[in-house]
Symmetry: C2
Subunit: 347 residues, 2 copies
């Protein structure tokens, strides 16, 4: 079932039209403590608002159980509609709550962060973290609609913008060199809403086209895992060490690592690798690791959802737009790539 | 995705063939404390066995979380296979755990009870109870295969056999009068394995044909809810009152109630109604309720998953094989039907 993706900076009107069309029996909003003001600003006075604490470490079973309980207590039925208003944490957990409440009620995603707009809110992946493993429990469940705007981005911290930008770089790498060049030439300190919404649309369409061809990640959808084997490992490692990093930052560093592997295995352009690494080093800084951390990182990679029988699997590129999924990377290769990652980011 | 349904009394061989074919990376069995001996008898020495406490009140978030944790701890990947060996409680929770672990791994159902074989294990409904509401959280997720046999039924308590028989009566009512007559003429004290497997196959095929036409219960699958609006209410009411009853018994009493409604609204044959009520009274006995319980029962029915905006919805019959879904029943009609239910069962 394809998702309807609507690009508009008049979110309230788009939502009113959707609700008028769907005529749900009961309207529910899931927001977190940060996005609650945005949820309340949408003018949906008839909605029950369910709030979960902000932060990816709250994307857990407790928050999920809280949403289920509130839906139940307030009489949600199979004909109810749930709106998730927030970043990826909110759309992930809200979508999973909706996908499993009474075996599935309809939901609409209203991403409020750049990362949510270009990644989490689109494509039907929902879920929660479990025992420190990211998105360990979840379901493939397409939102009825995703409403994407740039009007909530102004209030985001700069680090949040960067987080979304990392996924946009990934999409550009999967699309073509012109798209990559345009992004790397973007002045992040001077983004106007029009240009931003245009860049977002380009980026979302890369993801949408891939997901449409393979909704359940049995084939080419794995392209979207570019940067994520190393990225998730950085993210989990940081979480375990008590110094969590934003998902997008982890993806940025993961992209550098996996472009190194792409160069080693598929002769991906050294010049582009250096351009991307320079951009990421300049804007995201480095994620400090030492050789002593490699064992822990490799172990996380081997337990990744994408892994088959304990091997490390990556999506790699031979050039922009040309990807290879399910590439098995040996521990030695990954170790070499982590060494070069540290060189490129001057660690 | 249609489920493969295999009827065989050589379950171990069928499973070996399935596993040889699927070549899973990691094999897991979910069983409960009652069905653990059956699980161990299948000869799958390579499997990790995960045990949950028996009983429908353990079909809850704690048991689900335990299964997820054990899968994770023992290195389950997306290429792993989970076998649910048990009654409906085990196949429901095992299926839901599999459907949501890493957003879905493959699973095979091996029902060990008659009720599980003719109902829970087939059709893709998975889930758990939540805050005393049955199957409140779950997913539609088809098993890779369902292996149905009659060889585990011999050790079942008589009440468990009866529980399954109630669903078989329901399927016969949805199929035709000859099937119903054959069932009502069955001597439950003298069932041989061959005849039992033949009756089970006929019954399962009724359900399978309906589910194939409507996997997500948006239309005719609701036929299978016959007896279940009143039945679930009896079951939840009994659970809340601390005197739980088997699901099949609740369905049997629900069938009597809804055949009364079918007679009132659609002139369902009074003679057949009495035949079914007599059979059920004789084998299942009555579920004792008084007028003072009606408010609680009606309130549960109005909060049923099948309900739309707080109304009571039933599937009713005009005759065997001819059903009407989504029939809204007024509180007065349901009250009258409960009165007649009590008369028919001599309460």
């Amino acid at each position: 079932m394809p998702q309807e993706i609507i690009f508009s900076n008049d979110v309230a009107s788009v939502l009113q039209a959707q609700i008028l069309n769907l005529r749900p029996a009961g309207l529910f909003i899931v927001a977190d403590s940060n996005t609650l003001p945005i949820a309340l600003s949408l003018g949906l006075t008839q909605a029950h608002v369910i709030t979960v604490p902000a932060g990816d470490d709250n994307k857990n079973l407790d928050s999920l159980s809280h949403i289920w309980t509130e839906l139940q207590r307030n009489g949600a039925t199979r004909q109810s509609l749930l709106l998730s208003v927030g970043g990826g944490m909110v759309t992930d957990i809200g979508g999973f709550a909706a996908a499993t409440f009474k075996r599935g009620i309809r939901f609409i995603n209203v991403p409020t962060s750049l990362l949510g707009a270009v990644d989490a809110a689109v494509g039907g992946k929902t879920g929660i973290n479990f025992h420190n493993l990211k998105n360990e429990i979840g379901a493939f469940a397409p939102a009825h609609a995703v409403i994407i705007s740039s009007c909530f981005l102004g209030s985001l911290p700069h680090s949040e913008l960067l987080s979304g930008f990392a996924e946009m770089i990934k999409h550009a790498l999967l699309c073509g060199e012109p798209q990559l060049s345009e992004l790397l030439a973007t002045d992040l300190a001077d983004l106007d809403p029009e240009r931003t919404l245009r860049l977002i649309r380009t980026s979302v369409m890369v993801k949408r086209d891939i997901v449409l061809k393979d909704p359940h990640e049995s084939g080419i959808r794995k392209a979207l895992n570019l940067g994520h084997t190393a990225g998730h490992a950085f993210e989990s490692f940081a979480l375990n060490a008590g110094r969590p990093v934003p998902h997008g930052f982890a993806v940025a560093w993961g992209l550098v690592t996996e472009l190194v592997l792409s160069h080693m295995r598929f002769q991906f352009s050294s010049q582009l690798l250096h351009q991307v690494a320079d951009f990421i080093g300049q804007h995201f800084g480095p994620f400090f690791i030492t050789c002593d951390d490699y064992d822990a990182l490799l172990s996380i990679m081997a337990h990744d959802k994408k892994s088959r029988s304990g091997e490390i699997n990556c999506t790699l590129l031979s050039r922009c737009g040309q990807f290879h999924t399910d590439v098995t990377v040996s521990p030695d290769e990954m170790t070499a790539a982590l060494d070069i990652y540290r060189d490129l980011l001057h660690i």
